[in-house]
Assembly symmetry: C2
Homo-oligomer: 350 residues x 2
DNA sequence: GTACCTTAGGAAAGCGGATTCCTGCGCTAC
DNA sequence: GTAGCGCAGGAATCCGCTTTCCTAAGGTAC
């Protein structure tokens, strides 16, 4: 082999081996060459093959600032909600020939900020922050400032599920979906309904809660604070919230979990206690994550077209806005949730 | 604002605003400056703040070749098996201050090859190909050649679940786990057992199948080819394979799915047909993915410590091998699967 | 007061590749 | 035979940043 001391093969190595100048080698490799003799061309290609040369992407990006990657900031890809979202994002990114860089923030605002900087440093073509926003004015200000600086430099931003963040947006109908969910249970005749909510700081939590409350108002029911438990948006969070709720509020006939993952946890907790679902207590979730149909009883929930949302967000991020639009107006796409009735909700006992 | 025409803020802009040379600005920003007057230092910091300057990572990487990112090639992050693996990988990567670039190959060998090139181009510090290998000598040769070129240039490679690939490895006990699984069912008394397998080209499929066959031999049972159905390693693949199996082999008392996802699909198919599990037919899976315990009946399966495997692989990739070892000897860590008995397997009826 | 040393901070040289600008060759045309 | 032109392919510049090298100012010692 004829590469440099570092072991890395560089364009110069290829050129030397093919006995041409770096310019010619570059031209051949990039197919950019209208006029390169066939003989030289094959010599260069041969050298590339033999040396297994791969151009240094950083050098390329420096020389010809053509952004190719896109960044996504999610809570955790292994959470099914984000896994589905990411799948949609991924697909569209791939269709555009873009590499997707996935960053897990684990819902740490500090880390989200860091990741925006990192993605900015990486010169990604677009950043897609996905997942709930925070009730934290200081953070939002910081986050927006960072994002705005990025946009100013030509970056594109599309968020999923956040209001009050600059950039285009895909926003799920959290309030409305929750309203549907509440309606469903109230119409079934439930009076004492418990709620298993995610962290209070998340806008997703408060938005969904708002929808529930509106439904309660419309149906003349109560949703007292003591019947609302806040915990992590996770299976275990759902389980422990369910246990607490059952202990403190023995008369409940239904539990609304603010996402499916928590609902699954609740189901597990109830099963462990020997409480029959839905005969004794109904349980409903939100999101319609894939597992929702595989647990027993299958979850009644609100379907959010997660993959589709991901696709749309990435499309917003990658398709430049119509230049005739006034530039600063972000494009917002609302997506509605719809109720999916399965086996976990039924009229209250007796 | 005082940045260049492109809108991107560069080091030079910061320097100009702070009225210092780029060298000084760089020194301040990198904390690299043993001797920079406090006055200048604060002036630079102020300019950075005001301009929201973020250094161009590509330029930095070019100037000081300090690899910081690591790449992972998985089938699909949204598949729970890989989601768990990735979680482990992510954690260790983050602990080392590394950015994780996740690539979905969708089990397309061609795409895997492309991704290795891409990661190589990105100058990542390590590449972790995760998931089943292929029975495809040509591909393996190509893949190894690519990887070897990468290692030659100082890159680190750690694979998960592949033999015959260069680099360090974490290998799950597929054969042995399957043996345990077979043993479990045979000891329960099952005679006619069907198998739902993944694609034939995957080594995971053949390895697990081999374990099953060994168990069959040891217990004097048959595992005829007609009772083995090959399909996608997916929920729907599992469902359709289960349906076929039930149609063609009515007398089965147990179904072994070669991964949990397929088992979940099989469960759904059986439920739809009104076949009671485990009373009429037992169903077992493999991997012990999170949903396994939440389906009903909860799956009896083989637990693979997925998160742990991810962690170990990333550790292998990031911790340089003991220099006293002879260099070319890859480090291989075997991890055993263990049986988890839940509710989906029971003795055959009557 | 002069010679020498220290040190802050600026100038310049890459890092690896793309691209613009040249150069020199071979061809056509008069 | 010579002028003019086209074109292949090499030299040089630049991308944004880090870092080495160097300069000049200030300080110390005699």
């Amino acid at each position: 082999m004829a590469e440099g001391p570092s072991g890395v093969v560089r364009l110069a190595d290829v050129a030397r081996r093919a006995r041409v100048s770096p310019s010619t080698a570059s031209r051949v490799i990039n197919g950019n060459a209208k006029h390169v003799t066939e003989a030289l061309r094959t010599r260069v290609m041969k050298a590339v093959e033999e040396l297994r040369y791969v151009p240094n992407a950083h050098a390329q990006l420096l020389a010809r600032p053509q952004r190719t990657a896109v960044g996504v900031i999610v809570h955790d890809v292994s959470d099914p909600y984000f896994a589905e979202l990411t799948r949609g994002l991924q697909r569209v990114a791939a269709d555009h020939g873009r590499l997707l860089v996935i960053c897990n923030s684990y819902r740490d605002p500090e880390r989200e900020l860091e990741y925006v900087e990192l993605l900015r440093a990486q010169q990604v073509a677009a950043i897609v922050p996905a997942g709930s926003g925070y009730h934290d004015a200081k953070f939002n200000r910081e986050f927006n400032a960072e994002l705005r600086a990025y946009q100013q430099a030509g970056g594109r931003v599309a968020v999923i599920g956040r209001h009050d963040i600059v950039g285009d947006a895909v926003v799920p109908g959290n309030e409305n979906g929750a309203y549907l969910l509440g309606t469903e249970l109230f119409q079934l005749g439930h009076q004492r309904v418990g709620v298993i909510a995610g962290p209070r700081v998340l806008t997703t939590t408060t938005d969904r809660l708002a929808g529930l409350k509106r439904a309660a108002r419309d149906y003349g029911r109560q949703l007292p604070a003591r019947r609302i438990r806040y915990d992590d948006f996770s299976r275990d969070g759902g389980a422990s919230a369910a246990v607490e709720l059952m202990d403190r509020e023995p008369g409940l006939t239904a539990i609304i979990a603010l996402n499916d993952t928590m609902a699954v946890g609740a189901l597990a907790a109830l099963r462990e206690r020997g409480v029959a679902v839905p005969d004794e207590v109904s349980v409903v979730g939100f999101d319609d994550v894939p597992i929702a149909r595989d647990v027993t009883p299958a979850l009644t929930t609100i379907r959010l077209p997660l993959v589709e949302m991901g696709k749309r967000a990435m499309s917003l991020a990658l398709d430049a806005p119509d230049p005739s639009r006034r530039p600063r107006a972000p494009r917002v796409q609302h997506v509605a949730g719809e109720i999916v009735r399965r086996a976990s909700a039924a009229p209250p006992p007796r």
